[in-house]
């Protein structure tokens, strides 16, 4: 737990340092001429506070060392599920621009329900088909928000002609 706490705090310090580096592209000081802080001042100094606070967390953790419960940060059994789901999400999102939402999203549903969730075929198929249908009618037809189609675009032209 303590090690994880330190690693996270250190990563936050790295993140704030990255922000600070970006912020220096604009003036970060107080300019009396134009009245007040420059464009980089807010992100820079806020990140600086973040940096200091994250450092303080690391320092504090040394004082707490003897009270460490030794409990692992991640539960090994369930971490596997979490990593699997995250990978599935990344694959789905990566597929969306290329294969379109109407291939990527049903694939995700199928994987999640059938493979990951161990649900029956009936439930899986109903949801895998019903959800994209609902999305099409709710988002595209009703709200007029087009979802990415990728190479499936031409197959939607007759649908557009019918429903718009």
């Amino acid at each position: 737990m303590l090690t994880a706490d330190r690693i996270i705090a250190a990563s936050l310090m790295a993140l704030s340092a990255y922000f600070m580096w970006h912020a220096t592209a604009l003036p970060i000081g107080w300019n009396g001429m134009t009245g007040g802080p420059g464009g980089g001042a807010f992100p820079f100094w806020l990140s600086a506070i973040m940096f200091v606070m994250a450092g303080a967390i690391i320092l504090r953790s040394f004082g707490q060392a003897r009270r460490d419960t030794g409990e692992p940060f991640f539960d090994q059994d369930t971490l596997r599920s979490v990593v699997l789901v995250v990978i599935a999400l990344v694959v789905t999102v990566a597929l969306m621009p290329w294969a379109g939402a109407y291939i990527a999203l049903p694939l995700f549903l199928f994987w999640y329900l059938k493979v990951f969730g161990n649900h029956g075929w009936t439930l899986t198929m109903i949801l895998t088909i019903a959800t994209p249908t609902f999305l099409f009618f709710f988002f595209e037809v009703t709200l007029k928000i087009l979802l990415p189609k990728g190479f499936t675009e031409p197959y939607f032209i007759p649908l557009y002609a019918r429903f718009f």
Binding site: T34, W98, K149, G150, F151, I157, Y160, F164
Partner: protein, 326 residues
């Protein structure tokens, strides 16, 4: 990474579309086959957004397009986001973009890798006008009063306007240059915000578009001092133009539509015709009169050369503006 992705996808999609579209459609009667995306170079709620959505409503109401026109706001980075997006849409026949003057100023101010010469011009709908305003409670009645008051303030005169580098700040820079005055420029999020702060007395003057200040003017809360137009504006018959007063200050905001590079000529023709009908519609004509817009319809090559002229003018203006602020 996503960038390369989307670009490749867009091209693939465009190619496959072109295939399906080319076969049945003769050049004469090209029609959009899917909803047309109308990219707006500004965020939700601003003047440009409202106008673009007005166009969309009229198109829908008068049934000028066979497919719905879907407005999408991409106002990030003063339009930089929209310009990059349009660049990635090369060859797409179903995307048009509503522009304003940041169409030239944004690529001039920051290098975003976009050359507006490559885009396809479609139609210019109107020129929006600028007027110098003060609070109606102030003693300023004429331009001379105004200049005197600003000079007397010793640089603490608060001029409100939209973001730095945008139209209002350019007009302000022109004013400063012409009259040799010095003002404190306070940027606000939008024209409506500027007008409200002027009425509330938080700033001393503004160069709002008439459409943003009209309501307050009618209620007697704001006073127009001079217009940055070639001729007097119909709704403010008593307000002189800068030219009348002997100062060559004319500035306007263009409201045009452009399309991505490489749009099929028949598609361009379709959209041009659509905007022509829109231009002729009664609603649009009444709107321009009420809101003091100058309807000035322009298409094709004329529009392109107008864009290029304006870009050159803005390059000079930006130089003056940067000179003033430093």
């Amino acid at each position: 990474m996503t960038n390369i992705f989307t670009r490749r996808i867009a091209m693939a999609a465009a190619a496959s579309l072109a295939l399906t579209a080319a076969l049945p459609a003769a050049a004469e009667n090209w029609k959009p086959q899917k909803p047309v995306e109308m990219v707006i170079m500004a965020g939700q709620g601003g003047g440009a957004d409202r106008l673009a959505r007005l166009f969309q409503s009229i198109i829908q109401k008068e049934n000028l397009s066979s497919m719905p026109i879907l407005p999408v706001n991409k106002g990030g980075g003063s339009g930089a986001e929209a310009l990059r997006y349009l660049k990635d849409k090369q060859g797409d026949n179903h995307t048009i973009m509503a522009t304003l003057n940041s169409y030239y100023t944004t690529p001039l101010r920051t290098d975003i890798g976009v050359n507006i010469e490559e885009f396809t011009p479609v139609a210019r709908m109107a020129l929006d006008t600028f007027v110098l305003w003060v609070n109606a409670d102030s003693d300023i009645q004429t331009l001379d009063d105004y200049v005197a008051a600003v000079k007397a303030s010793g640089g603490s005169w608060k001029m409100g306007g939209t973001g730095t580098g945008q139209e209002d700040s350019l007009v302000t820079a022109m004013l400063q240059d012409e009259f040799d005055i010095d003002v404190t420029y306070v940027p606000f999020k939008g024209g409506g915000d500027v007008a409200k702060n002027l009425v509330g007395g938080h700033i001393d003057s503004s160069v709002n578009n008439p459409s943003e200040a009209l309501g307050f003017y009618q209620a007697g809360k704001l006073r127009p001092i001079a217009a940055f137009t070639p001729d007097r504006i119909e709704v403010f018959p008593d307000t002189p133009t800068m030219t009348e007063l002997g100062h060559e200050l004319v500035y306007s905001m263009q409201r045009s539509f452009v399309a991505p590079a490489g749009m099929a000529p028949e598609a361009v023709a379709y959209y041009t015709e659509m905007f022509e009908k829109l231009n002729a519609s009664e609603e649009w004509q009444t709107y321009t009169q009420e809101k003091a817009l100058m309807p000035d319809f322009l298409t094709g090559d004329d529009l392109q050369s107008y864009f290029l002229d304006e870009r050159a003018k803005h390059a000079d203006l930006l130089k003056t503006a940067d000179g003033e602020s430093s």
